[in-house]
Symmetry: C2
Subunit: 514 residues, 2 copies
């Protein structure tokens, strides 16, 4: 079947009947969420277990089950590999992994796919696992990619039932209160797992820093935690900050960032009470910096900035340019540090941030946001998941929710990456539909979505280089050879969910090249 | 039918089949909790309404429905009366009130019972409403009294379905994030309503202080809140502190407090990592003070103290005698003030504090607790709800959960109140069963529960005046005339739930006097 964007969607995967994407706010949820399991304990019962293996036994984890993880340690996470390795040793097979995201450090999962320990993955697959799955024929069912808010929604709605949640915590007490803010290897918020802890049949907290009771803040609560395991190491916090976490030095990219900041200024949204989401890409970081400078010059105090938390955002908070930071994820250790000291650096879980099935997300309160893309197309659709060669290499993160929420969503991209054009006729994969994108900012100018004539007028009045998207595409295309295009087969290797649970696109296996 | 304590319990009330109490930890919950309603909103939708009346209309509140409230403003709350008055004006009848607790300020509810606006009440009825209901024949069904944790449990389990939750917040933003920590009239935590906000079909936040977005901490989250109403006044925070909130000056009561503190010292629990719950009664406050002094002398640092928060507990925190305070309710404004400044004064909701249907409560981590009683009996059963004349004048609060959790639960009571004996053969009403009470401390000595021979030996070894309960009773009885005893009829005016949802006692109407 085809969804409203004309994308080919399978009707069913396994037992699941798929709903086609019908528009960014078309779906109206009704009825009730899933019901959480009843649990109890008597005073004096001990939750501490000696090892991951003991936890696997105690939870009754068996072949065919679903296990979940968060990605707050990003490329420094040890827990996913530890647990899957232990399952493999114990003869458990056919697992469905339900991480928020996998990173290059999880490359060993490739072996576990080959040997049948892991047969399904629902979650972002950044890097090698994504590349492997992209080859096709590797998983029993297609992968499912969800946004941060979409994953939260799916658990609450009962779309995904978690058998055992494993939660890495940089600090926990023996009763199962846990957080990522304190501890020997603080990683920043771990509240991606808050919903897992509540809905999973069994919840296991794994920490390398057992604190006296009570460990706080209560990102994970004792009432949800079945067992606690202490290990020597749970992750390498120095690997949280990815290589992209630097303000770009490229003149082209700096020009894009300056244009984006100028667009924010021209938009009329930049006034007292202003709010924005930064991001972690080099252009986003630079644009955030420029907007901060603009606020300082104009004497504007914003209501809030939203993370992923970075040193740059913390500086903006400390300079009094915003009243608060809302933060669900640390992109560097300065952000985690600030959360220990700044009461107005407020921890926010993904439900609060981005849940479609709720009476409001923080992203709906955003004035402006800078987001990236691997591709954009002439309908303003954005792809952040696949490359033009069809490889599935990136997750959705909060892209969908921020774009859907912010009054001014700017996609900041160079028109070319190496020899590859970024503006295309039709994106390889739709992650975020054009209807929620306000403008695309490249080094060649700013293309405004035709839905936003008001914005276009303001930009033109401010002397910004407003251009047609097709025009910028043509210019870029002239500078390079048309790239070889992949030929897609029938096999669906992954589904891309829109944040409301409908399917916005299906990623198909590349079978050859034009 | 009779429960395990031999108390006469009705088999059914309305449609509800009652489960008899079978022991403090006898019930093993299974299956799943109730499912929360799905909700949604589009960006830009406005939640602000102009009045309580508009909120009543917008939520579809109708005759026969259930409305809920918290009691964080205690005897200074304006919201219950405002809402019920508005319902009355709008012709709504037959409401079930589901407050956490009513106070003397809610005396106008008596008129609304008479005129049929309110026909059922589930919640504590401190003072005039309790006295009125005690006369019998007033409500369509008996009142139901639950502990703090028991109420949370009941909502999660689906025992009580809330149609509309009204939540007084001393600060909120227009999107429905709300708290009681900040604002013009801070009242301390309002997280009694956290579970209401999540499970109610509709949730209305009412505030007198509308803050810029985001208002934090997120005791109530935007995602749960349907509407926000701004009013001039929501409550009088000066009435939060009740008259009892002073350290006793009575020599008899000071002796009891000193004995209790000495009992804690003798118990062996008073060492590094120690934890305790104070309380707000005059004796409990004095005992807390004496234990604090003991810790200071001995150089002991405790893990945590638990509120209701008071200036006394805050002082203990500031003196470094405990690492943290866990707090779900402010008994004075100093506690609320501390929560704005002290990161280790940690907000805790009643689920975390006390939920039987969870993998652990904070009360299960308590070493010692001082609790009050209106009566105790020779089986160590405790009554906090009714007076010896059968009048239902007090709520349960956290009595059941603290007693069930603490390793050392001391009931601190004078043996006589005026001419009334406190130690009786059989309590008028069982609130908390003797099996979870460790000792009863009166000015005449300490009676240790026979289950705790270990404790008795320690007390004797420390030279404490260990006495038999019957012996202390006989002594007290000799000093006074036997009081007239009420004759109870068949009409059940209220059910007392044990924290697990079973019925520990039924309060019957007084029909005459012996």
């Amino acid at each position: 079947m085809k969804n409203v964007l004309g994308r080919d969607i399978p009707e069913k995967i396994g037992d699941r009947v798929l709903q086609p994407f019908a528009g960014a706010f078309a779906r109206v949820p009704s009825g009730r969420k899933a019901a959480r399991p009843q649990k109890t304990i008597k005073p004096g019962e001990n939750k501490l277990l000696g090892s991951i293996e003991e936890a696997i036994e105690a939870t009754g984890l068996k072949s065919g089950m679903t296990i979940s993880f968060h990605h707050s340690f990003r490329n420094g996470d040890y827990l996913v590999n530890m647990v899957v390795d232990a399952c493999a040793r114990m003869g458990i097979k056919d697992l469905r992994l339900f991480p928020t995201a996998l990173f290059p450090i999880h490359a060993p999962i490739v072996e576990h796919i080959k040997n049948g320990v892991v047969t399904r993955i629902e979650g972002s697959m950044n890097g090698p696992v994504g590349a492997f799955v992209s080859q096709g024929g590797k998983l029993k069912e297609p992968g499912v990619l969800r946004s941060h808010g979409g994953r939260w929604r799916a658990v609450e709605a009962g779309d995904v039932h978690i058998d055992v949640a494993f939660i890495a915590a940089s600090q926990a007490d023996a009763y199962g209160n846990a957080n990522g803010i304190y501890g020997k290897t603080s990683c920043g918020p771990i509240s991606f797992s808050t919903v897992d802890a509540q809905y999973a049949d069994k919840t296991v907290v794994v920490t390398n820093d057992l604190a006296p009771y009570p460990a706080y803040p209560f990102e994970i609560q004792q009432g949800w935690t079945d067992y606690v395991v202490v290990v020597d190491e749970i992750g390498d916090p120095d690997s949280i900050a990815s290589g992209t976490l630097r303000i770009t030095r490229s003149p082209t990219r700096l020009r894009i960032a300056r244009l984006a900041a100028a667009a924010v200024k021209a938009s009329g949204y930049l006034k007292d009470g202003f709010s924005f989401q930064g991001g972690a890409g080099g252009i986003s970081l630079a644009a955030t910096k420029f907007v901060g400078e603009e606020m300082e010059r104009a004497g504007i105090v914003g209501n809030f900035a939203m993370g992923g938390g970075t040193k740059l955002l913390v500086d903006i908070l400390h300079r009094g340019l915003v009243r608060a930071i809302l933060d669900g994820q640390a992109f560097d250790l300065a952000a985690a540090e600030s959360m220990r000291h700044d009461q107005n650096h407020v921890l926010m879980d993904p439900g609060h941030y981005a849940n479609y099935d709720s009476r409001g997300c923080s992203t709906y309160m955003l004035d402006a946001a800078f987001l990236g893309a691997t591709e954009v197309d002439l309908d303003f659709n954005v792809n952040v998941n696949t490359h033009s060669d069809g490889q599935l290499l990136h997750g959705i993160g909060g892209h969908q929710e921020v774009a859907a929420g912010a009054k001014l969503t700017l996609i900041t991209v160079p028109s070319l990456r190496g020899r590859l054009p970024v503006i295309v006729d039709r994106v390889t994969t739709v992650t975020t539909p054009g209807e929620v994108i306000d403008a695309i900012v490249t080094e060649r100018g700013i293309a405004v979505n035709p839905k936003r004539e008001d914005l276009k007028e303001r930009f033109v009045a401010s002397g910004l280089p407003v251009r047609g998207l097709a025009e910028m595409k043509a210019e870029a295309d002239r500078l390079t050879q048309p790239p070889r295009k992949p030929i897609f087969g029938d096999e669906v290797i992954a589904l891309i969910e829109w944040r409301d649970g409908t399917i916005i696109d299906a990623v198909r296996r590349v079978e050859g090249w034009e």
